[in-house]
C-alpha cells in the first residue's frame, strides 16, 4: 500500500496566549493525486490546520505525515526545507513579494529546495511555460509583482506553487479576492496544472460554490473539533 499524500492522526494543537484557540483532528487522509476542499466559516481554524500541514505550526501531539515522512520527527530546519521541497503554498491574497520581479517570486521556493530545483532543467523556462499555461501575458516575468492585478498575482502564486511539481499543493482561500468570473477560470487553470504535475490539492474556503471540481468536499467540523478559551 502506498503512503497517503497527507495524513493527520490524533493531532492536537493550541495557539499560545490567553484566548488560546485549540483544535484537534483525530483522523484525516488524502490520497496521492486527490483534490480536497475543506469548507469552514471564517475563524473556524482552517488556516491553523494548514499551518499544521505545512509544518509552520507544530502539533502538540499526534502525527502529521506527508508521504512517508512524519514531519513532527523533523527538526525545525529540516521541516522548513521539507516544506520547500514538498509543498506549494497559495494564500488568499498578497501572495507575492511586491518589490520583486515575477520571475524571482516564482523561483523563490526553489532557493530553499535544491532537489525540487534539480528536477527542472531550466527554471526560468519552466516559469515562462507555467505563466503561459496560466494565461498570463508575455513579458510578465520581468514585471514587478506589486504592479500586477490581483487576479494576475493569484495566478503567479499558482505558478510559484506548482514550479518543480511538489507532491502537495496547499491553498488558503485563493479565490476569495477574485470576482466570480475570474474565480472559475482561476480554478480551472489550477486544476489543469495540478493534474499535469500530479500534485494533490488541499484547498480551504468558506465558499460552498467552489465544490464541483473537487474529488471530495468536506466540512471542517467533520474532521476537526475546535475549542476557544472563554475570552
Amino acid at each position: 500500500m502506498t503512503d497517503p499524500a497527507l495524513a493527520l492522526t490524533d493531532v492536537t494543537f493550541a495557539w499560545p496566549g490567553q484566548d488560546g484557540f485549540s483544535l484537534s483532528c483525530p483522523n484525516f487522509r488524502m490520497a496521492v493525486g486527490e483534490s480536497v476542499l475543506l469548507l469552514g466559516a471564517s475563524g473556524s481554524g482552517k488556516s491553523t490546520l494548514l499551518s499544521l500541514v505545512c509544518g509552520i505550526a507544530t502539533a502538540t501531539s499526534g502525527r502529521v505525515s506527508i508521504g512517508a515522512t512524519d514531519i513532527g520527527t523533523l527538526g525545525a530546519g529540516a521541516r522548513d526545507r521539507f516544506r520547500a521541497e514538498q509543498i506549494g503554498v497559495i494564500f488568499q491574497q498578497f501572495n507575492l513579494l511586491p518589490y520583486a520581479r515575477v520571475l524571482d517570486n516564482i523561483l523563490l521556493p526553489l532557493r530553499f529546495a535544491p532537489k525540487r530545483k534539480a528536477r527542472i532543467g531550466a527554471p526560468a523556462q519552466e516559469a515562462a511555460r507555467l505563466c503561459a499555461a496560466l494565461g498570463l501575458p508575455d513579458g510578465v516575468l520581468t514585471k514587478q509583482a506589486g504592479r500586477l492585478s490581483v487576479g494576475q498575482q493569484q495566478r503567479v502564486a499558482v505558478a510559484r506553487a506548482l514550479i518543480g511539481a511538489p507532491p502537495l499543493i496547499v491553498a488558503d482561500e485563493p479565490t476569495s479576492a477574485l470576482d466570480a468570473a475570474t474565480q472559475d477560470s482561476f480554478l480551472r487553470l489550477l486544476f489543469e496544472q495540478a493534474e499535469q504535475a500530479r500534485s494533490s490539492l488541499l484547498m480551504v474556503s468558506h465558499d460552498e460554490r467552489l465544490g464541483q471540481r473537487f474529488d471530495r468536499v468536506i466540512r471542517l467540523e467533520e474532521i476537526v473539533t475546535t475549542r476557544r478559551a472563554a475570552a
Binding site: W15, S47, C54, I56, A84, F91, L97, G146
Partner: protein, 415 residues
C-alpha cells in the same frame, strides 16, 4: 538572489530607507571629517619645525615657549638678554643659533626680527628649506621678507612700502621708518606664511626713539639710525642646532641651569608631544561626540527597521511559507541593515571628499591647516567597516523580533 531581493525591498521603501541612509552618510562624513581635520592639524603642527634641536626662551612652560616661538600663538612673558644669547652661541656644542625677536606687527600679521641664518636653518615638513619665490632676502636694514599669506592677503609685491606697528594690537605706527618688501617666501603651510620677517637690527632701529613702550620727544633721522650700532639688548627666543645629537641633552641642561637668568631649552618634538597631551583631551571629546552622532544615526536605523516590521509581517509569512527558515528572515533584515550602512558609508565618504574639495582652500587660509585629498586611508576604511558591522549589530534587535514574530504568526498572517 537573497541579496538582490534585499536590495529591491530597500528600493521599494526608497523614502524611509533614503532618509536613514542619509542620516548614516552625514554622520559618517562628520566623523571622518573630524578625524581628517584632527590628523591634518597634527601633521601641520608636526611639519612646522624640523631640523631644530632646541628652542631657547625665558623660563616658562615648554608648550608656551613652543607656541609663541614657532607658532606665533600667545606671547613671551619675558625676554632673553643679548648676553645670555651670546653665552649660548659661544658654547662648543652649538653648531648654529638663530635669534628670534617678536612683539611688533604689521596689520594682522606678526613681525619677526631675526638674522639671515633663519633662512638657512629653519626647516619644515621633514627638512625642507624656505624658498624665496620673488625678490631677495634681508640685505638692507629696512628690508622685509613676507610670508605667502601676507603677500596674498594684503596684495603686496616686491618693492611695496610697509609700516610696522609697535606691539600687537596698538595703533602707534613706526611710520617714520621706510620699510619695504624685499622678498616673498613661497607658501610653506607653516606660520612663516603669516609672518613679516625683518632683521634684528631693524627691530632695534624701530625702537630707537622709544623708551619703555612710549615714543620719546625727538625723531632720529633715518640717516643717523643707519650709522648707529644697532645691537639688540634682548631677544624673544632662539633656535639652536647642535654639532652632534648626543650633545642635545647636555646643552639643554646647561641652558636650563644657566645662572645669570632663568632660561628654558626644550626639544621641539618633546614640547609637541606635551602639546598633544593637552590637546588630546579635546580631541577625544570631539571624536566621542562625532562617534555618538554615528551611533544616533544607527539607532535611527534600528527604529526604522522596528517600525517597518509590522507592515512586513505579511512578507515574512511569504518567506516562511516558501521554506525560508526563521534564521533566513533574521539574515535578510541584517543584510538590509548592512546594505543601508554600506551605502550610507560610501555616500558619507563621497560627502567627505566633496566637503574637502570645497573647504580645503578655506581651511588652509583660515587656520593654516592643509587638508590633503588622498585616497581613503586604511584607518578610514576600518571606520566604514566598523559602521557596517555596528549596523549589523544594531539590526539584530529588530531582526530577532522579526524572527519571533515569524515563528508566532504561523503561515497565514491575519489581516
Amino acid at each position: 538572489m537573497i541579496l538582490r531581493l534585499a536590495m529591491q525591498s530597500l528600493m521599494a521603501r526608497a523614502l524611509t530607507v533614503g532618509m536613514t541612509v542619509l542620516a548614516i552618510a552625514l554622520s559618517v562624513a562628520l566623523f571622518l571629517g573630524v578625524e581628517k581635520i584632527r590628523t591634518s592639524a597634527r601633521a601641520s603642527f608636526a611639519d612646522t619645525i624640523s631640523g631644530t634641536d632646541l628652542i631657547v626662551g625665558a623660563r616658562s612652560g615648554s608648550v608656551q615657549l613652543l607656541l609663541y616661538s614657532v607658532f606665533r600663538i600667545g606671547n613671551a612673558t619675558n625676554n632673553v638678554t643679548w648676553e645670555s644669547y651670546r653665552d649660548i652661541a659661544a658654547r662648543p656644542e652649538v653648531d648654529w643659533i638663530v635669534p628670534i625677536s617678536l612683539g611688533d606687527s604689521h596689520r594682522q600679521f606678526r613681525v619677526m626680527g631675526t638674522t639671515p641664518a633663519f633662512f638657512e636653518h629653519y626647516k619644515f615638513r621633514g627638512g625642507r628649506s624656505l624658498e624665496i619665490s620673488a625678490g631677495h632676502g634681508l640685505d638692507d636694514l629696512y628690508d622685509t621678507v613676507i610670508g605667502a599669506d601676507v603677500a596674498a592677503t594684503l596684495g603686496y609685491s616686491v618693492g611695496d612700502p610697509i609700516v610696522v606697528l609697535h606691539g600687537l594690537a596698538s595703533f602707534t605706527a613706526h611710520d617714520d621708518q621706510p620699510f619695504r618688501v624685499a622678498g616673498i617666501v613661497a607658501k610653506t603651510g607653516t606660520p612663516v606664511d603669516r609672518t613679516v620677517i625683518v632683521s634684528l637690527e631693524a627691530i632695534e632701529a624701530i625702537h630707537v626713539d622709544w623708551q619703555s613702550g612710549a615714543k620719546s620727544g625727538q625723531t632720529t633721522p633715518v640717516e643717523v639710525i643707519r650709522s648707529m650700532e644697532l645691537e639688540p639688548t634682548a631677544i624673544t627666543a632662539a633656535l639652536v642646532g647642535v654639532q652632534s645629537r648626543l650633545q642635545i641633552f647636555g646643552l639643554q641642561r646647561w641652558i636650563n641651569e644657566y645662572p645669570e637668568e632663568p632660561l628654558l631649552a626644550v626639544l621641539p618634538g618633546v614640547a609637541l608631544q606635551e602639546l598633544w597631551q593637552i590637546v588630546g583631551v579635546a580631541e577625544t571629546a570631539l571624536i566621542g561626540v562625532s562617534a555618538m552622532v554615528v551611533v544616533t544615526a544607527l539607532v535611527g536605523m534600528m527604529a526604522m527597521i522596528f517600525s517597518s516590521l509590522n507592515e512586513r509581517r505579511r512578507e515574512m509569512a511569504i518567506w516562511r511559507a516558501m521554506g525560508a527558515r526563521p534564521s533566513t528572515i533574521l539574515g535578510l533584515l541584517v543584510i538590509e541593515a548592512m546594505l543601508m550602512a554600506a551605502v550610507g558609508s560610501v555616500l558619507g565618504l563621497a560627502l567627505l571628499y566633496l566637503g574637502l574639495a570645497i573647504g580645503q582652500p578655506w581651511v588652509d587660509a583660515a587656520f593654516g591647516i592643509w587638508l590633503p585629498i588622498d585616497p581613503p586611508t586604511v584607518r578610514e576604511l576600518w571606520v566604514l567597516a566598523i559602521v557596517i558591522g555596528a549596523a549589523a549589530l544594531a539590526s539584530l534587535l529588530p531582526a530577532i523580533r522579526a524572527y519571533r514574530l515569524s515563528l508566532a504568526d504561523g503561515m497565514m498572517v491575519r489581516i
